[in-house]
């Protein structure tokens, strides 16, 4: 088939204070008409920059194409004037971006934003452009498009905003759609829907797609052909089956090995670290057995936030964030909580150490009732449970050296004498496999994975019995994610730690957990041993959630028929609302399913 885009020996340079830096190095590939080409690689590999250069939208003065050609439809884009390029952008080449929350202008209605691009490129008057914008919103499955067109972006959910972005991108029937990590910021259920939508629209309109992602599972879902990039260069190119079944380059193999695949743990009773390519074989990949001694018992935990309103700021309603949740975590084992954003899983974690005050319930840590402690005893108790947060960029103080940040909990509790502090921190750095020379560095000098190791070192400083990891690896690249997960599992074996692992990534959860709890709208809908939950999900929500997870295998693609999600109902109820307690049925040994109506 004919080539639509052909990139020839493209070189892109970044101008920095330290001099010019090659971001893209001699890159060549082609995109054929109506095919989907996935460009895959980790952050900083130059994949987004390549996409921007195809749009001729490289940030001026920072990035520059130094040599090479980009041919689009046999036209050399470098030869076109700015006005000619403006006529192509949004019309023949269009693009959707990663962050649906910020990619739309907050001050214009979505109807205006969709019709704007139509009016720019098609000679239509205001009314006709608006009508066709409404049609487009319908095509991307926004409910009641004629009314929602008058909504502002802040009135739409993340998934809906990404649909609007797709409507804008496809408004002028472009020849190629560039999708730059369009689902990375979305929940797995919404991701599945958006991917299915892009596939469906692609088939209807015959547009080519250049799909940029770091997620091999998404590649398997979408791609006809794949280009693998590793710092600025193409290391491998091939059809999706060639890449997945017979990868040639070491980096592709490593990338595939680092992706936890849903279902690969089915035959194993206990979690075990991942086998990473290039790591020394001395690393024992032994299963993590744990103990059967309970560490943390949570009974009937309820957390509700007041919604204030009116002139007197009285409580007018309540957000039912966590509703009658009970579970137990054993010493040396991991319990994972999974669910979509807004399901209350993070609130559970925060309630346990009373960062938010639970409304009622019982939290028992090693025989101590956490919820009845006075502030002084609570402070002592907190040293037993530490947290690691999602965003390694904002959870460290940018202006303090790392030594101080890791030492801070020890200084706070005064448990370690000053003379041995240096040695103790050094040990912690060894523990998380960071060189001791990093102690004098600042957070901005570290990569995301290294920062997350610092966060883990800080959590370990007080020798806690348990760590709450709230989406601790979600913001990391796959290979880094695998390393951090392995580190956490290694610490679990060595120190006998328990983990409460909060995540939306089912494949990661399958890899690390002994037990799994699935949450929906504040309730725990299903809980039990990991193999039992994954092999035999009983609750309809768990079943649908598992169906939505893309599998890193091009032969197991999902079609839109597999998906039927309802939008999450509101957890806000008026003061008189008194939900019924959660009742469970034991369907297998230790495997419980909610029988109360949870709203799904």
């Amino acid at each position: 088939m004919e080539d639509l885009v052909s990139i020839n020996k493209l070189n892109i340079e970044a101008r920095t204070r330290a001099g010019t830096l090659k971001v893209v190095n001699d890159l060549s590939f082609t995109i054929k008409k109506s095919e989907t080409l996935c460009v895959v690689g980790e952050s900083g590999c130059g994949k987004s920059v390549t996409a921007l250069s195809l749009m001729s939208l490289l940030p001026e003065g920072i990035l520059k194409v130094s040599s090479g050609d980009i041919l689009f439809d046999n036209i050399n884009l470098a030869r076109l004037s700015e006005a000619e390029l403006e006529g192509i952008r949004g019309n023949e080449i269009s693009m959707i971006f990663q962050e649906p929350m910020t990619s739309l202008n907050p001050l214009f209605t979505v109807g205006e934003q969709v019709s704007e691009v139509i009016r720019r490129h098609k000679n239509l008057n205001k009314e006709k452009a608006w009508a066709s914008a409404v049609e487009l919103l319908d095509a991307v499955k926004i409910p009641n498009p004629d009314k929602r067109a008058f909504d502002y972006p802040f009135q739409l959910s993340g998934g809906q905003r990404q649909r609007v972005m797709i409507a804008i991108a496809l408004a002028c029937q472009p020849k190629i759609l560039i999708a730059d990590e369009p689902t990375t910021a979305l929940d797995v259920t919404i991701q599945a829907e958006i991917l299915a939508l892009i596939n469906m629209l692609k088939q209807e309109t015959g547009t080519a797609v250049m799909f940029i992602t770091h997620d091999m599972a998404v590649v398997a879902q979408m791609a006809d052909r794949v280009v693998v990039m590793h710092p600025g260069q193409k290391v491998e190119e091939g059809t999706v089956h060639e890449i997945f079944n017979n990868p040639q380059h070491e980096y592709t193999k490593a990338l595939l090995a680092a992706v936890p695949k849903l279902g690969e743990m089915a035959s194993k009773k206990y979690p075990e670290p991942m086998r990473l390519v290039g790591e020394k074989k001395t690393n024992a990949l032994k299963p993590i057995v744990g103990t059967n001694e309970p560490l943390l018992k949570v009974n009937n935990l309820v957390t509700r936030y007041p919604v204030k309103g009116g002139v007197l700021r009285r409580t007018v309603a309540r957000v039912h964030a966590v509703e009658d949740v009970s579970f137990t975590i054993m010493k040396g084992k991991t319990l994972s909580l999974v669910g979509e954003s807004g399901c209350g899983k993070s609130t559970v974690g925060r309630s346990l150490i009373r960062l938010v005050e639970p409304t009622s319930g019982n939290v028992n840590l090693d025989g101590q009732n956490i919820l009845s402690l006075n502030p002084k005893d609570m402070r002592e108790a907190r040293s037993n449970i530490q947290m690691v947060f999602q965003d390694p960029f904002s959870s460290l103080n940018p202006q303090r050296p790392l030594f101080d940040q890791v030492a801070e909990p020890l200084r706070n509790y005064g448990t370690v004498k000053r003379e041995v502090l240096q040695e103790k921190i050094g040990d912690l750095f060894d523990r998380v496999k960071l060189p001791r020379s990093f102690m004098r560095r600042f957070p901005h000098q570290l990569s995301g994975g290294q920062r997350q190791r610092i966060a883990i070192a800080r959590a370990l400083a007080l020798n806690p019995k348990m760590i709450i990891a709230d989406e601790a690896v979600s913001a990391l690249d796959v290979s880094v994610q695998a390393q951090v997960l392995n580190l956490m599992m290694e610490l679990q074996v060595d120190l006998g730690l328990s983990f409460l692992f909060i995540s939306h990534d089912m494949a990661v959860v399958e890899r690390v957990s002994h037990d799994v709890g699935v949450m929906y709208l504040g309730r725990l809908v299903e809980i039990g041993p990991r193999p039992s939950i994954f092999r035999n999900p009983q609750h309809p929500y768990t079943q649908d959630l598992l169906k939505a997870v893309p599998i890193a295998d091009p032969d197991k693609r999902k079609s839109e028929r597999d998906l039927n999600f309802k939008p999450l109902p509101s957890p806000i109820h008026d003061l008189s609302h008194d939900p019924v307690p959660s009742e469970y049925k034991e369907v297998a040994k230790d495997h419980y399913v909610l029988t109360t109506d949870c709203g799904y």
């Binding site: 939208l57 403006e86 990619s103 202008n105 907050p106 720019r120 490129h121 802040f154 972005m165």
Partner: protein, 311 residues
């Protein structure tokens, strides 16, 4: 808003009481002295023999009925005196404010397009000059320049009384001509703030994702800049405009004095010199009113600009 006004009125009353002496003393002084009996008579006449709270209540009720007392210097009711001057100040304050916002935004947008270039440097220097130079100095400088060297604009007063025409537009343009210099002088302090604020917020917005989206739609540079980016970068400028209203009003007093602009400022200046307290307090209440109305306007503008803001 009404609460703010009430608080100011009450504070006014306290200030009146804190100052040594009262109206009776002042009047007696101007009359060249009075004996105890006359003083008591005067105090009774002005209600000063009443208990404190009754006096406070009386004062608040009087202000609510737009009775600010009597100016013994001009021998006119304070309210009439203020109403005669108020429109001139209102005109000066609003025109200067609008001019400085408009020019500030223009300069800010211009500078943001090329933040490290020569144009940006020029705008920065210009605005630095604006807020470093004291307003009376700028005023006098312009005054000298326009009275001695290029006498194209009148440098004093608000109207030319020699014009004998019944045509509205002739008078209108006469006032505009007189307004020009005081307006520029007053606005010069604020160009700086607005242009710097607008430049900074424009620079931030230009890096935002939705600006990239707008470019990816194929919109022209002008549309990206003036439609998508500008609207999003206005809110800090407008917020600051609301906050600076009081500064503009107080700046107006200096400017009016320099240019003999017949507004509240010159009135305030004269009242200070002649210790005409009722007039001063009346002006204070009117300034408060102007500032609160200015703030209300700001809030309404912000609301109109950003659908996410709820009042």
């Amino acid at each position: 808003m009404l609460l703010v006004l009430l608080v100011v009125v009450v504070l006014n009353f306290f200030m009146l009481h804190l100052a040594p002496g009262d109206i009776a003393d002042t009047i007696a002084q101007t009359m060249g002295g009075a004996d105890e009996q006359d003083m008591a008579e005067l105090r009774k006449q002005y209600g000063l023999d009443q208990p404190f709270f009754i006096q406070l209540l009386n004062y608040v009720v009087k202000v609510a009925l737009l009775d600010f007392g009597h100016s013994h210097f001009y021998n006119l009711p304070v309210f009439d005196l203020i109403m005669e001057r108020f429109p001139a100040t209102l005109l000066l304050v609003f025109s200067a404010q609008i001019l400085s916002i408009f020019v500030g935004i223009l300069l800010g947008v211009y500078a943001a397009q090329n933040p490290n270039g020569l144009s940006s440097l020029f705008v920065n220097m210009f605005s630095l000059f604006g807020y470093a130079a004291p307003v009376f100095w700028t005023g006098i400088l312009l005054l000298i320049a326009f009275s001695l060297h290029v006498p194209i604009f009148p440098v004093s007063g608000m109207r030319d009384i020699t014009i004998e025409s019944s045509n509205f537009f002739v008078h209108f343009f006469d006032v505009l001509r007189h307004l020009f210099l005081p307006m520029i002088t007053l606005a010069s302090i604020f160009f700086a703030y607005y242009s710097r604020l607008c430049r900074a917020s424009m620079l931030e917005v230009l890096g935002a994702d939705f600006v990239r989206t707008a470019k990816a739609k194929g919109l022209s540079k002008k549309d990206v800049l003036l439609k998508h980016a500008l609207k999003n970068s206005l809110s800090p400028v407008i917020t600051f405009a609301g906050l600076s209203f009081s500064a503009v009003v107080s700046g107006a007093i200096l400017v009016e004095t320099v240019y003999s602009w017949p507004g509240l400022g010159t009135l305030a200046f004269n009242s200070i010199i002649s210790r005409d307290t009722p007039v001063l307090l009346g002006i204070l209440i009117f300034s408060t009113l102007m500032v609160t109305v200015g703030n209300l306007l700001t809030d309404l503008t912000l609301k109109a600009l950003d659908p996410r803001i709820k009042i």
